[in-house]
C-alpha cells in the first residue's frame, strides 16, 4: 500500500509544478461556471415550468458542480492517454517490470492526479461559486456521506472505463479517432451538462444501460437533493455494481493482454 502513496505523491508534485498554468486553469474553470450559470438562469426565466419542480438554486448547484467534477474526473487525459503513450513509445514493458501490480500502479497515478485537481481545481472555484451564486448546501450528514461515497465510486468507475478504453491502444497503437467518440459519448450520456431527467423519454433506457450515468449524474443529483433516501441508496448500489462489474472485466481483459505480452517477450 505504501507504493500506492509514493506513486500518488509523485503525480501530485508533477501536477502542481507549473504556476502560470494553474491560475489560467482556475480562470478557465470560472468562465465555464459562469457560462452554465447564465445558461440555466436564462432558461429558468423563460420557462420555469419545464424544470419539473426543481428549483433554480438546485439547478445551478447541479450545473456548477457538474462543471467542476468534469474537470477532475477527466476523459481528455488520464490512464488511457498514459497507456497509449507508453504503448506507442514501446515503453509499456518498463511499467510491467515495476514491482507493483499494473492496475494498482495506474490507479495510484490516477488517484494522485485526481486529488491534486480536487485540491487545486475543485475546492477554490466551488468556494468562489458559493460566494457569488445562490446554491444549495447539503446539510443532512446522510446526504453529505452519500455524495462523498458517490464521488469516490464515480472515480473508480471512470477509472476502469478509461483503463479499458486505453487497452484499445494495444491493438491499434493510436486512440485519436476513438477518443473523440469516447469523449463525446461520456459527455452526452453522463448528464454532466444537462441533467439526465431532462433527456427525452426515448433515450432514457439507453442512458440507464450505460455506466456513465453513475459517473456524473449520481453524485450531482445526490448533492443537490434530487436523489433522496431510497432513490439515493438505489443509485449508490447501482454504482457499486458497476464498479465491481467493470473491475472484473478489466482484470480479465488485462490478464489476457499481460499474458500475450509475456509470451511475445515484451
Amino acid at each position: 500500500m505504501s507504493l500506492f502513496w509514493i506513486f500518488s505523491r509523485q503525480s501530485f508534485y508533477q501536477q502542481s509544478a507549473y504556476r502560470l498554468n494553474f491560475w489560467l486553469e482556475i480562470a478557465g474553470v470560472m468562465l465555464q461556471i459562469y457560462v452554465v450559470y447564465k445558461l440555466w438562469n436564462v432558461l429558468f426565466e423563460q420557462t420555469p415550468q419545464s424544470f419539473g419542480g426543481v428549483s433554480l438554486p438546485q439547478m445551478i448547484t447541479y450545473a456548477v458542480l457538474g462543471m467542476l467534477i468534469g474537470s477532475i474526473l477527466n476523459t481528455g487525459e488520464g490512464v488511457h492517454t498514459y497507456i497509449q503513450q507508453q504503448v506507442r513509445m514501446g515503453q509499456i514493458t518498463t511499467d510491467l517490470m515495476k514491482p507493483v501490480d499494473f492496475i494498482v500502479h495506474m490507479m495510484a497515478r490516477d488517484f494522485g492526479s485526481m486529488i491534486t485537481r480536487l485540491v487545486f481545481l475543485l475546492v477554490p472555484p466551488l468556494a468562489i461559486s458559493y460566494l457569488l451564486f445562490d446554491m444549495v448546501i447539503p446539510t443532512s450528514p446522510l446526504r453529505i456521506f452519500g455524495f462523498v461515497v458517490a464521488l469516490a465510486q464515480a472515480w473508480v468507475i471512470l477509472f476502469f472505463c478509461n483503463f479499458m478504453f486505453g487497452l484499445i491502444s494495444f491493438k491499434t497503437l493510436d486512440l485519436m479517432g476513438f477518443s473523440f467518440t469516447y469523449f463525446a459519448l461520456v459527455r452526452f450520456a453522463s448528464g454532466q451538462i444537462v441533467p439526465l431527467w431532462m433527456y427525452p423519454d426515448v433515450l432514457q433506457p439507453v442512458l440507464n444501460f450505460l455506466p456513465f450515468k453513475s459517473v456524473f449524474y449520481t453524485p450531482l443529483a445526490i448533492y443537490n437533493g434530487v436523489l433522496t433516501s431510497s432513490s439515493m441508496w438505489t443509485a449508490l448500489l447501482t454504482q457499486t455494481a458497476w464498479m465491481i462489474g467493470l473491475f472484473v472485466v478489466a482484470r480479465l481483459i488485462w490478464g489476457r493482454i499481460h499474458n500475450s505480452l509475456i509470451v511475445q517477450g515484451g
Binding site: 501530485f12 508534485y13 502542481s16 509544478a17 504556476r19 494553474f22 491560475w23
Partner: protein, 342 residues
C-alpha cells in the same frame, strides 16, 4: 580581414529558481526568484577563409549558445560578431544565405517525404538558380551516393544516410561557411569515415570554411587544422593541434616487447603503465629523455624483441585541460589563463 571575427562575445540567461522543500509545489505558484546564468562569458577568435576549425567543450560549456549566436539565432548580451562582413543577428536573412547549418541531433529535412522533395523546398527558400541547383545536386549525388536513397522518406534512412542527406541539403545554396554540430554522432565507423572524407573534400575543392563541434576527437584529428576548446563560457585553448600536443602532450609511451619477460627494472624518470604477457608500457617525459636513451638502458638488462613509441591521445590531453581549468577555478579569484600558442 578574417571571414569570421568574434570579439568579446557574452551571453547571459535569466532563469527562475524553483523552490524546494516544504510545500514547494504550492509555493512555486507565485515564485519569481531569478538568477542570471552566464552561458558564454567572454569569447574572441578569428577564422580565416578556408579554415577547418574544431570547436569543442563538455556539455553546457557554452558551445551551442555561441554557435546559435554565430548562426544568427540568438542575439548576444554584449560583444560583436562579423561574418563575411555581416552581423548575424542584425543581417540575419542575408547572413543565412552565406551559411549552411547541420545539427547532428535533428534533421533539417522534412521527416516524412523523400529527400529530393526536401531539396526542392530548400531550393525555393534559398532561391537557388536552376543551373546551380542541378550542378550541386549532381556533384553531391556522386560524392555522397545520394541516388541510392534520394527517393526514400527521411524517417526510413539510416543515421549515416540521413547525415549525408543533411550535409547535401546544407550545401545546396553554395554557402561560404558550414556549421556542423555533432555531424558524426551515433554514426557507425565506416559511415563516419565517409562523412569526414566528404567534409574534407568540400573544404578543399570549394573552399568552404567549416566550423565543427564534436565529442569525437577522431573528427578533430582527422579533419581540423585548428581547434578551440571552450569551457564555462571561455576559450581555454585556441591553436593548432600539433602545438597542443607538443605543449601538453610531453609524455610519450614506449611499448617494449621482451624476450625475457617479466620486466624487472625500475628506471628513474619512467613509469610502468601496464604489463601484459611479454610486453610492457613505459611512460616518460620526452623533454627529459629520448626514446633511445630509455631503450638503451632497458637493453642493458633485457633482450628487446620489438619496440614502438606511442603518441599521446588528443582526448586525454583535452581532458587534462578541462581538469586544469576546474582546479584553477577552485582557487578563487584566480584568473584562468587563455592559452594561445599561435
Amino acid at each position: 580581414m578574417a571571414l569570421i571575427e568574434v570579439n568579446h562575445l557574452r551571453k547571459e540567461f535569466k532563469r527562475i529558481i524553483p523552490k524546494t522543500g516544504f510545500l514547494s509545489g504550492i509555493r512555486n505558484l507565485w515564485n519569481t526568484d531569478t538568477h542570471t546564468h552566464v552561458a558564454v562569458d567572454d569569447i574572441s577568435f578569428k577564422v580565416e577563409e578556408g579554415e577547418l576549425l574544431g570547436y569543442i567543450g563538455p556539455n553546457g560549456a557554452g558551445k551551442s549558445t555561441s554557435i546559435k549566436m554565430l548562426t544568427g539565432i540568438l542575439v548576444p548580451t554584449s560583444g560583436d560578431v562579423k561574418i563575411a562582413g555581416l552581423t548575424p543577428w542584425k543581417d540575419r536573412r542575408a547572413h543565412t544565405q552565406n551559411i549552411g547549418v547541420v545539427f547532428g541531433q535533428k534533421t533539417q529535412l522534412w521527416w516524412d517525404i523523400p529527400v529530393i522533395e526536401s531539396f526542392r523546398v530548400l531550393k525555393t527558400i534559398y532561391k537557388i538558380p536552376d543551373e546551380l541547383y542541378t550542378k550541386n545536386l549532381n556533384q553531391f549525388r556522386e560524392l555522397l551516393e545520394l541516388d541510392q536513397f534520394e527517393n526514400t522518406p527521411v524517417r526510413q534512412l539510416s543515421l549515416g544516410q540521413r547525415m549525408r542527406a543533411d550535409l547535401a541539403a546544407a550545401l545546396l545554396h553554395d554557402p561560404k561557411i558550414l556549421f556542423l554540430d555533432e555531424p558524426t554522432i551515433g554514426v557507425d565507423v565506416l559511415a563516419k569515415e565517409r562523412l569526414r572524407t566528404f567534409i574534407k573534400e568540400i573544404n578543399r575543392t570549394r573552399g568552404v570554411t567549416v566550423l565543427l563541434t564534436t565529442h569525437d576527437m577522431q573528427d578533430i584529428e582527422k579533419l581540423c587544422h585548428r581547434m578551440a576548446i571552450i569551457d564555462d563560457g571561455n576559450i581555454l585553448y585556441d591553436g593548432s593541434i600539433d602545438a597542443l600536443k607538443s605543449k601538453f602532450g610531453n609524455e610519450r609511451t614506449l611499448v617494449i616487447e621482451l624476450d625475457d619477460a617479466p620486466y624487472r627494472l625500475n628506471l628513474p624518470g619512467t613509469r610502468i603503465l601496464r604489463e601484459e604477457g611479454t610486453r610492457v608500457w613505459l611512460a616518460f617525459n620526452r623533454d627529459q629523455f629520448s626514446a633511445s636513451d630509455i631503450m638503451m638502458r632497458v637493453a642493458e638488462h633485457h633482450t628487446i624483441r620489438d619496440l614502438t613509441v606511442e603518441e599521446p591521445e588528443i582526448e586525454s590531453i583535452v581532458r587534462e585541460i578541462y581538469e586544469g581549468s576546474h582546479s584553477g577555478r577552485k582557487r578563487e579569484d584566480e584568473h584562468v589563463p587563455v592559452l594561445d600558442l599561435q
